[in-house]
């Protein structure tokens, strides 16, 4: 079933040409109404699209892309969506998306989202299909460069490596806005469904990864104080899959005592997780200030090899971000973001769980402090350019696989990232 669904979602063979053709024939700015039209005819299909190309360079440690220390252009995104308002209450839409970010994406085209949306009243609407996950302030728009100031959202709360499986669910959602009579309004989102996980993006040892369930809620209180909203989100999910080790690695793990001598694989695993975030955003006139605090609870259970199981670990993530619209074409932004992989070991005094005795402590791999400065230039209404610099302290957000499988504790503790990105959109 999962295979059939993944084939249907990906459709590599025919989605690509459709994207190209649709982009070629799309009329820019379709939301612009023609003066000669009285707007009384049937509403047209709205087409919107974006194309991004970025560049990433790190002072040391490979980050997001292989060879980022030498500079990498493997940072591209293309999306096109079609929406139609069928009636005052009913709307349908879909978005095709393809991207490349280091080892992720590799230009496989897929349905980013598709839905049928019926809004009974302002306080109750239902949406079914593949819909984006409302988690925190920006998860839904985390792949939309034009909708934010920074190139990379604070990676503690919105890691791009999770984009492919924590951006959307296949299922249903109820939503609405409830007025609170003088106390602002409350926007709610309730959702449930399954997660599609593209194993082509996973490491070569993983297969048949799927998310059998995810459910959650988001509440946002639009405060009577102009521009202020306060909210909370929580979601519960599980990822299941198989780890298939090559024979040489099996032998290595057996020698280390991590696999039984009669193990032949595959290793079946489950990762149940609960994610929660508290959000605060002030956005009025030209100023944006946002802050979020999040904790993620996750464990790893293996039904085939008990020694591979990892008890529940709680990670801690928070950031403070601000941006100011200096002119219509120039917006600088800054944020400070912190990630602790384990709240019980913020300094990394312990060795990773389950590693043999004598393994060095996690050290710098237990935390990551990220101070980022962005300059956004809106060259015109359809084209923008961003430049961004990060000062990083710690390596918790890095991937060992991108760094020659070195432990995170052995990577450079203080390092920098420079990014440039240009996006055209309509």
């Amino acid at each position: 079933m999962a295979d059939r669904r993944s084939r249907w979602l990906r459709h590599d063979s025919w989605v690509g040409p459709i994207v190209c053709a649709a982009t070629a024939f799309a009329v820019p700015a379709p939301a612009r109404a023609d003066d000669s039209s009285d707007g009384t005819g049937p509403l047209p299909i709205e087409i919107h699209a974006f194309v991004s190309q970025g560049f990433i360079k790190t002072s040391s440690n490979n980050y997001l892309a292989e060879d980022s220390t030498k500079g990498s252009f493997e940072f591209s995104e293309v999306g096109i969506n079609f929406s139609k308002q069928l009636t005052d209450r009913m709307r349908v839409g879909m978005q095709l998306f393809t991207h490349d970010l280091g080892p992720l994406g590799n230009y496989r085209t897929r349905f980013d989202w598709f839905y049928l949306d019926y809004r009974f009243w302002d306080w109750l609407g239902l949406r079914a299909g593949r819909t984006k996950l409302p988690f925190g302030l920006y998860n839904e728009s985390s792949d939309i460069d034009a909708a934010r100031v920074p190139i990379l959202l604070p990676q503690s709360v919105y890691p791009v490596s999770n984009r492919d499986f924590l951006l959307a669910l296949t299922g249903a959602e109820a939503y609405g806005i409830v007025p609170l009579a003088g106390a602002g309004s409350l926007e709610y989102r309730l959702y449930g469904g399954a997660i599609f996980y593209d194993t082509a993006d996973a490491s070569s040892t993983l297969s048949n990864v799927r998310g059998p369930y995810i459910f959650g809620a988001r509440l946002m209180w639009q405060n009577p104080i102009e521009g202020l909203q306060v909210g909370a989100s929580a979601q519960k999910l599980r990822l299941d899959g198989d780890a298939v080790f090559p024979p040489a690695q099996i032998a290595q793990l057996q020698m280390a005592g991590q696999l039984p001598s009669d193990f032949s694989g595959p290793l079946k695993f489950q990762i149940p997780a609960t994610l929660a975030v508290a959000s605060l955003e002030y956005s009025a006139h030209d100023l944006l200030v946002a802050s979020e605090y999040s904790r993620w609870w996750a464990s790893l259970n293996s039904s085939t090899v008990a020694s591979f199981s990892v008890p529940e670990t709680v990670s801690e993530r928070f950031y403070l971000m601000s941006a100011y619209h200096v002119t219509p074409w120039f917006t600088p932004g800054v944020y400070y973001s912190v990630l602790f992989g384990n709240v019980d070991d913020r300094k990394g005094n312990d060795a990773p769980y389950g590693t043999p005795k004598g393994t060095p402590p996690l050290g710098r791999g237990a935390y990551q402090h990220d101070l980022a400065l962005t300059l956004r230039y809106d060259l015109n209404s359809f084209w923008l350019l961003k430049l961004e610099g990060h000062y990083m302290h710690g390596t918790a957000g890095l991937s060992s696989a991108l760094n020659g499988n070195q432990p995170l504790s052995s990577l450079t503790e203080d390092w920098g990232v420079f990014l440039a990105k240009t996006t055209a959109y309509f």
């Binding site: 709307r91 302002d122 009025a284 006139h285």
Partner: protein
């Protein structure tokens, strides 16, 4: 000592001059107020003439233009309509009523468009086009520059 035969008279005109100056100042001030009262506002918010609404709060108009509220109180579907992003009237409306810069509003809609949440109001290129649209849609709400001809469209108070 020569008495100034005009002493009394000379003293007389002084307050008169001051009065005259104050009067002129007052007239200028009144004239200024008068001119201010006659000057067209930067924008007017319009609805269909059959819509019974006469005034709306800024918060409610914001909810309508951001599509948080999609129905008028009588159940009619709301059809907000914008002007071009680079127009002066859009900037005035956005700053004063939505209390967000046009760019911030555009970012709001980028988030909604590309996450599949909603679509922005249509944009028109002129006041005349907005008036025409408002007259043809009972649930429409738009805004035009202060000196635009409203035809039969109903201008409402936004406070």
């Amino acid at each position: 000592m020569i008495r100034n035969p005009f002493h009394g008279q000379l003293h007389g005109p002084r307050p008169t001059r001051r009065s005259l100056l104050w009067s002129l100042f007052g007239l200028c001030a009144l004239g200024g107020r008068s001119a201010g009262a006659e000057a067209a506002p930067e924008f007017r918010v319009l609805i269909h003439p059959e819509n019974p609404t006469t005034s709306l709060s800024k918060d409610f108009v914001t909810d309508l233009f951001l599509k948080r509220v999609t129905r008028w109180r009588d159940g009619e579907a709301v059809h907000p309509v914008d002007q071009r992003a680079d127009s002066g009237v859009r900037k005035s409306f956005s700053d004063d009523v939505l209390r967000r810069s046009v760019s911030a509003v555009k970012r709001y809609w980028q988030q909604r468009i590309f996450s599949g949440r909603d679509l922005p109001p249509p944009e028109f290129d002129s006041d005349e086009a907005v008036v025409s649209y408002v007259l043809k849609h009972r649930g429409a709400i738009g805004y035009v520059s202060g000196r635009a001809k409203l035809d039969r469209a109903k201008s409402i108070l936004v406070q």
